[in-house]
Symmetry: C2
Subunit: 342 residues, 2 copies
């Protein structure tokens, strides 16, 4: 299975609808030979949509689920409908071993609640965290976690996130000892909350893990490429992630305004277009889509609700990479090692 | 005094040194006719530095202070030296009524601790907050607070910040009813911490204040221009502010790479230079420098540690504007009104 991973896709989740999800799956199939899919959702609608993607039909199977989780639905409410919703059924396919990973663009809170209930935590883990690689100026991206699964975290949670984030970074960046930092509001030892300072003390004390703890990192240093993993609670992580997204878009909008402000600047823009297109691709969130819930007994990838075809394909590609690299087992091994030495 | 404000400047604070501080003061003096200054710090050094700025000498007076607060010094340690440091003496000049405001580029924690101790809080205020306007796509900037004065805040603090931030926005943006939002990780009612949800409940219930509460705002919406004031605790505010700074710089660096990647793109860049220069000015943190501690009995403005001449001048200009607009009295009036109705 690890060589020919089968991915369960919640075909109904996300703001963009079924057609974009299917186009994204077909896109992923073209990029990654050998992938197989279980497309979960309304059978008739998926069947109709697949007419556009004959090549995908050969490598996928439809699994019917009559209901959809609403984007504003409370997780506590959604989990009662786990067995009948496309999201719940996709996760259940992972639990049953029919799929190696589930991918959904739906409601994050519901996805986490369903995944936690169905797949359970790895031994010793209290909470899963949402982790994703973000672009930097350095040689590789930076894995950031938690991006919003847990509003509040204690020191123990943060240390577990550090261990899991390092395992993730080793896989996707092929690093021996990822540099791991805690997100804080200053670099001095006394800065931040008790939880952060306590987590720093534990991480400073560990020597047996394949990670290098580099202390505190501030928001303005996230993209400098000086760290491979940045750890924080889900509130701070979500604020940082969304502020970075919003600021990149803001600068892009200002740039557009600047370039269209005069004929002269329009000409300049046209000439330098190939270069600015590269930049746009580098910053396009669809090229960085697909956050994974680490700490679960199984791989569940969250695709952005507004991801386009490319974004969905990127998220599926990430899921396949983590399946092939055996993320769950490798995180479990690191956690065992950490617990044994503690 | 309100017509010809006198500003006490901590001439020794900041990473850039005395020469940049003095150049910034001279720059501000050229921009704002009528300002007078008390330059606080080492008398001989300031005297020597003023030789470069003959026009400034006429409108300023040196107040000697033999010591400097270190940038990594603990606030608890710094306040013991309040009477002998340039930072402490500058604040003391405000307390004594000799200056209408103090401006420092030094250690933020020490500045807040000294200002709190010397000037005291406005009646009913538990903690001051650091507030500053940040650039948006809209008609005006957005005032954000707290930017790092208080790592953790309760609902009462957040509500006070909203009232004070609105008073500040009315003054600097000349608005009747600023739109005030709470920074959160989602727009739905159940999102975020208890503190944020409780503060939202109080703000939703108020009708007598000159502000319009608009609910929750996420990090990706900060720069859209849909809000005039965004309220958060100092941890989240600092993460958001610095992540925005870092991302803007990151995009700028990528843009530079893109524009220098080929001869063609270099030519395009040269042609569109006037337009991109406008953009650079718009994003330059030195054009947005000068955060004010709201909630104090007096005006203390924090200039960025690495502010250049222009940045220092911007911070001083902000201080002068707040003095002329009588910020302290107006915030006190709003707070009275709020407390009377509560």
């Amino acid at each position: 299975m690890t060589d020919q991973p089968c991915i369960a896709v919640d075909a109904m989740g996300g703001d963009e609808g079924l057609a974009v999800m299917l186009a994204g799956v077909a896109h992923a199939r073209r990029q990654h030979e050998g992938l197989r899919f279980l497309l979960v959702g309304d059978e008739a609608a998926i069947q109709a949509g697949l007419a556009q993607h004959p090549n995908l039909s050969q490598h996928s199977e439809i699994v019917h689920a009559p209901e959809i989780v609403g984007s504003a639905e409370k997780p506590s409410q959604a989990i009662r409908r786990a067995k009948t919703t496309s999201m719940g059924v996709a996760i259940d396919l992972v639990k049953k071993g029919r799929a190696a990973a589930a991918v959904s663009s739906g409601n994050t809170g519901a996805l986490m609640a369903m995944a936690k209930l169905a797949l359970r935590m790895l031994p010793g883990i209290d909470r899963p965290a949402l982790a994703a690689p973000l672009p930097t100026l350095g040689d590789n991206d930076v894995v950031m976690l938690d991006l919003g699964a847990n509003t509040e975290c204690d020191a123990r949670n943060l240390v577990q996130f550090a261990v899991m984030g390092a395992a993730y970074a080793r896989i996707i960046f092929e690093l021996e000892r990822p540099r791991v930092a805690l997100l804080n509001i200053g670099s001095e030892d006394q800065k931040g909350t008790d939880e952060i300072r306590d987590a720093a003390a534990v991480l400073r004390g560990q020597t047996h893990l394949p990670l290098a703890f580099t202390g505190f990192v501030e928001g303005n240093q996230l993209a400098r490429g000086h760290h491979d993993v940045v750890v924080c609670d889900g509130f701070a992580g979500n604020i940082a992630l969304k502020t970075a997204e919003g600021t990149a878009r803001f600068v892009g909008d200002l740039l557009k305004r600047a370039f269209t402000s005069s004929t002269r600047s329009k000409i300049g823009f046209l000439i330098s277009r190939p270069a600015t297109k590269l930049l746009r691709d580098h910053l396009d969130p669809n090229n960085h889509n697909g956050a994974v819930f680490v700490g679960l007994n199984g791989i569940v990838v969250k695709s952005h609700g507004s991801a386009n075809e490319l974004g969905v394909a990127t998220a599926i590609g990430n899921a396949a990479k983590l399946v092939r690299a055996d993320l769950t087992r490798r995180i479990a091994e690191d956690l065992n090692e950490f617990e044994a030495a503690a």
